[in-house]
């Protein structure tokens, strides 16, 4: 053992635990407004993730226990579960999580070696392969025409059957972003759309409180120095600015930027997804560029693209750019500021 002989008390598992702790406020809001189905999804995803990770590690002849205990698979599972509808059938959760862990993470080399954000890869696979199942978002409890008890929920998720007299339509409702998109296509103006019951103060009813939960959790992570300010600020600023420009151009066709911040996966992305250290840039300037790119693309896909939320694809597209971003944003090294051959862009 060489120097240094002392070290800070930190570990990967502590980081992952804090991330999970930061998600608790949002999950609590989720259950409050949309029922306990989300907890089933989270549990199922976590179990699948750990099982897949253990199997892959064994296949690759790696020690299983230290990697399972590092918590990274659990975080991937929870983030994916939070991104997909809680009323999605059990096999949707399993397929998405398995793909995320086996293909996006382990086949690329395991912890620290994956190029793409595993949760977002899982989400992309699901939304492209099972678009119908991925639209079964629950209506907020306050607005739902019918309610499922917890045993009924389990029955539906695992058995696929609903109690007599309750139809799926009574339980689900289009998300605020989805509603917005559809209604805009029907040539209604933003002002009119905003008065529909699904919308709350800033975003969607219920989901805006969940967004607030993500914000609270994110600020905790920042205070704990798990994440730096660069990614959340740049992402939210870019999303806000892009939305703001369009909103100024035509407020009846382009909804307010604050709505965009409070909707869909924006705040989840800002603090939990785009901040994934493995798949993001390592330089401060790089993080700003990366996050701004995601913010901009998210708006474009949401407004002009084919999907109601653009976070996942925006993240995956920027993941491809990360090595390039890193190479061109190397900060100046101490004592190199006057040198001609400084590695300021990492190129030979």
């Amino acid at each position: 053992m060489g120097s240094p002989y002392v070290a800070e008390q930190s570990s990967v598992s502590v980081i992952m635990l804090k991330v999970l702790a930061a998600l608790v406020p949002a999950i609590a809001a989720y259950v409050w407004f949309f029922g306990p189905a989300i907890l089933v999804g989270i549990a199922l995803a976590t179990a699948t993730a750990l099982a897949c990770e253990a199997a892959m590690l064994k296949l690759r002849k790696y020690p299983v226990k230290p990697f399972l205990m590092d918590g990274s698979a659990t975080v991937t599972a929870v983030l994916l579960a939070l991104s997909i509808p809680p009323l999605a059938p059990w096999w949707l959760v399993v397929v998405g999580t398995a793909f995320a862990i086996v293909v996006a993470k382990q086949l690329y080399g395991g912890l620290g070696n994956n190029l793409f954000n595993p949760a977002m890869v899982g989400y992309a696979v699901l939304i492209i392969s099972f678009p119908a199942a991925m639209t079964q978002w629950p209506a907020p409890d306050a607005l739902a025409a019918a309610h499922l008890s917890f045993p009924d929920t389990l029955q539906y998720l695992f058995g696929g059957t609903l109690p007599d007299g309750i139809k799926l339509d009574a339980l689900t409702m289009a998300t605020p972003l989805d509603t917005l998109k559809t209604q805009l296509h029907l040539a209604h103006s933003v002002g009119d759309i905003r008065h529909m019951p699904i919308f709350g103060e800033v975003g969607g009813k219920g989901s805006e409180i969940i967004a607030l939960g993500y914000l609270v959790g994110g600020l905790y992570l920042w205070q704990q120095r798990i994440i730096s300010w660069h990614v959340p600020l740049a992402f939210l600023a870019a999303l806000f600015a892009t939305a703001g420009i369009f909103h100024l151009i035509d407020a009846s066709r382009y909804v307010s930027p604050l709505f965009h911040l409070a909707s869909g996966g924006a705040l989840l992305c800002a603090f939990f997804i785009a901040t994934d250290p493995v798949t993001g840039p390592t330089t401060p300037r790089g993080k700003l560029i990366f996050a701004a790119g995601i913010g901009f693309l998210t708006y474009i896909i949401r407004t002009f693209g084919g999907y109601p939320d653009g976070v996942a694809f925006a993240v995956l597209i920027l993941n491809i750019c990360v090595p390039l971003i890193d190479a061109y944003t190397q900060p100046p090294v101490f004592g190199h500021k006057d040198k001609k051959n400084s590695p300021q862009d990492g190129r030979p």
């Binding site: 570990s11 990967v12 101490f334 500021k337």
Partner: protein, 544 residues
């Protein structure tokens, strides 16, 4: 108030200064035997001047500086030389080096030594005196100080900095030295000022040493030249020369250059003290202050003769407590484990820490790098340690150098913060040694290639010379015989003759083709024709 600048990064390990900085320095007794290594400094080892059996006096030069970057080594006390041999020295490799071992006679008989009138001396003479007094940097690097005391072609300096930061945890020798011998340090600074002629002199001391700051301020007030004590924020590695220069002056010494390129020179306060002893007392460097701390019963600071076995020092500190599993020389961030406890104290030994499981618990097994970039945030040299790690591990040394591997000061901040417990600084040390080894190989290969090419050239040349000589000899002989010496005419004749022979051979060699599948009567016909032709040829040949 002076504006201070700051450097990026740095960490705050637990300081552990109070264990050893509350008691005054204790003079260590003379041990029965001293083992004095001859290579205690950066540069070439000193050449031994004594042999077995020689009686030496305290302060006598026992090895002379060899080459430019070198310093002399002296007998720490009077006695008899017993061995001049390889012994284990305090070096991370554990390899032995040449040492002069001597039995001490406890009489402490000094060589003749007297103060120098340094102001009347020629500057280079004064520098040589310091080299011959064995003055080297006592902050840990042990670079021969006389070289740094050369003001260079500019003949002056902007800022002279004295480094009293002592940023590593556990080490308190400079703290006690400043508290107890501040005036002597300032007298050393005065001599340095005479040699370097700086515009300003600053003494940087971390603000966790209020008594040292007070003592140095009092001593500086008595000086008849301007010297300012500047407290700096306590952060590791604030005592690194480059970092301290940045904090005090805002300038960054250029990579690959020297601090004098920005008009700054930096010395440890203990070095200033030894300059004072060398000039005002004529004493060479034969002892230093060493902190003995960690898992010992009475940690403290000792004034120790060079060559004292570390084991003895540990006994002075009350002995090692149970659970001691080794000794670290230096601090916990940049020190190294001694190969064995009876290695000698050398000029670079600022601290000995008795380690144990409780104090320095072994690192958990390393996980993969998750690119969290805490290491980059902590790096005081603004490097990207996670990228250097990937490149070093992949043995991609070209890229590692592009990412400024050699600007790494090996402070250990990156390893300190890594949540995956990756021994980052070990990878960088490995990469640096690999690159150096390859450079050496390349130089050797280049040299071999040059020699080979020259050899080829030489052989060719000799061949040509020989051919020429032979040709000349042949020409001379031919002339003697009187034959035509015109090579062209000869060649023509030979060609014509050869053509005639070829034509004859062609005529004689005309043979029928495609005879294999002919019927027997045709074959007979061909035979008869051949026989007649042969006869005819005989006839013509007889004629010509």
């Amino acid at each position: 108030m002076r504006t201070l600048h700051h450097f990026n990064g740095g960490v705050h390990p637990a300081q552990h200064k109070a264990e050893s900085n509350t008691r005054p320095i204790v003079a260590a007794p003379v041990p029965p035997r001293l083992v004095v290594p001859l290579h205690q400094h950066i540069g070439s080892a000193a050449k031994p001047l004594v042999k077995v059996g020689d009686k030496v006096l305290k302060g006598q030069m026992i090895a002379a500086a060899e080459g430019y970057v070198s310093a002399a080594v002296h007998a720490p006390t009077s006695g008899t030389v017993t061995v001049v041999e390889m012994q284990t020295v305090p070096h991370p490799s554990g390899l032995p080096d040449l040492c002069v071992t001597m039995e001490t006679d406890h009489e402490e008989r000094w060589i003749a030594h007297a103060p120098l009138d340094y102001r009347a001396m020629d500057p280079s003479e004064l520098r040589n005196h310091l080299r011959d007094a064995g003055v080297v940097g006592l902050g840990g690097a042990a670079f021969p100080s006389f070289i740094k005391l050369n003001p260079g072609p500019a003949q002056k300096l902007q800022t002279l900095i004295l480094n009293g930061a002592e940023c590593e945890p556990w080490i308190t020798c400079d703290d006690r030295l400043m508290q107890e011998r501040a005036e002597a340090i300032v007298q050393g600074i005065e001599i340095m000022r005479f040699m370097l002629r700086p515009e300003e002199i600053l003494v940087g001391i971390e603000d966790n040493k209020p008594q040292a700051i007070a003592a140095m301020r009092a001593a500086c007030a008595l000086a008849d030249f301007a010297v300012e004590v500047v407290p700096v924020p306590t952060i590791y590695p604030g005592g690194g020369a480059k970092q301290l220069i940045k904090v005090l002056t805002g300038k960054e010494p250029p990579s690959g250059g020297r601090s004098t390129d920005v008009g700054v020179q930096c010395f440890n306060v203990a070095t200033a003290y030894s300059v004072h002893r060398a000039v005002h007392h004529g004493e060479p460097v034969i002892s230093r202050i060493v902190t003995v701390t960690g898992n010992v019963r009475q940690p403290g600071n000792f004034e120790v003769l060079i060559g004292t076995p570390v084991e003895q020092l540990v006994q002075l500190a009350g002995g090692a407590k149970d659970g001691t599993n080794g000794y670290v020389m230096g601090g916990p961030m940049m020190g190294f484990t001694l190969p064995q406890p009876n290695v000698p104290v050398v000029k670079a030994t600022n601290c000995i820490i008795a380690s144990s499981q409780a104090l320095f618990s072994p690192a958990p097994p390393a996980l993969p790098c998750i690119r969290c970039s805490r290491c980059a945030v902590a790096c005081p040299a603004d490097l990207q340690p996670m990228d250097l790690y990937w490149f070093s591990r992949a043995r991609n040394f070209g890229k590692a150098q592009e990412y400024a591997l050699f600007d790494c000061i090996e402070c250990g901040c990156c390893t300190y913060v890594c949540p995956s417990h990756i021994p980052l600084v070990q990878y960088f040390r490995f990469a640096k040694s690999e690159i150096w080894a390859r450079e050496k190989e390349k130089e050797a290969a280049d040299l071999a290639r040059e020699r080979h090419e020259f050899r080829q050239f030489r052989l060719e040349r000799e061949k040509e010379e020989r051919a020429e000589k032979l040709a000349q000899k042949a020409a001379a002989k031919l002339e003697m015989l009187g034959g035509s010496t015109d090579p062209e005419a000869d060649a023509k004749k030979a060609a014509i003759q050869a053509a005639i022979e070829r034509a004859k051979a062609k005529k004689a060699a005309v043979t029928p083709q495609n005879v294999d599948n002919l019927p027997p009567d045709k074959l007979k016909e061909i035979e008869e024709i051949e026989a007649r032709r042969a006869k005819a040829k005989e006839g013509t040949q007889q004629d010509s």
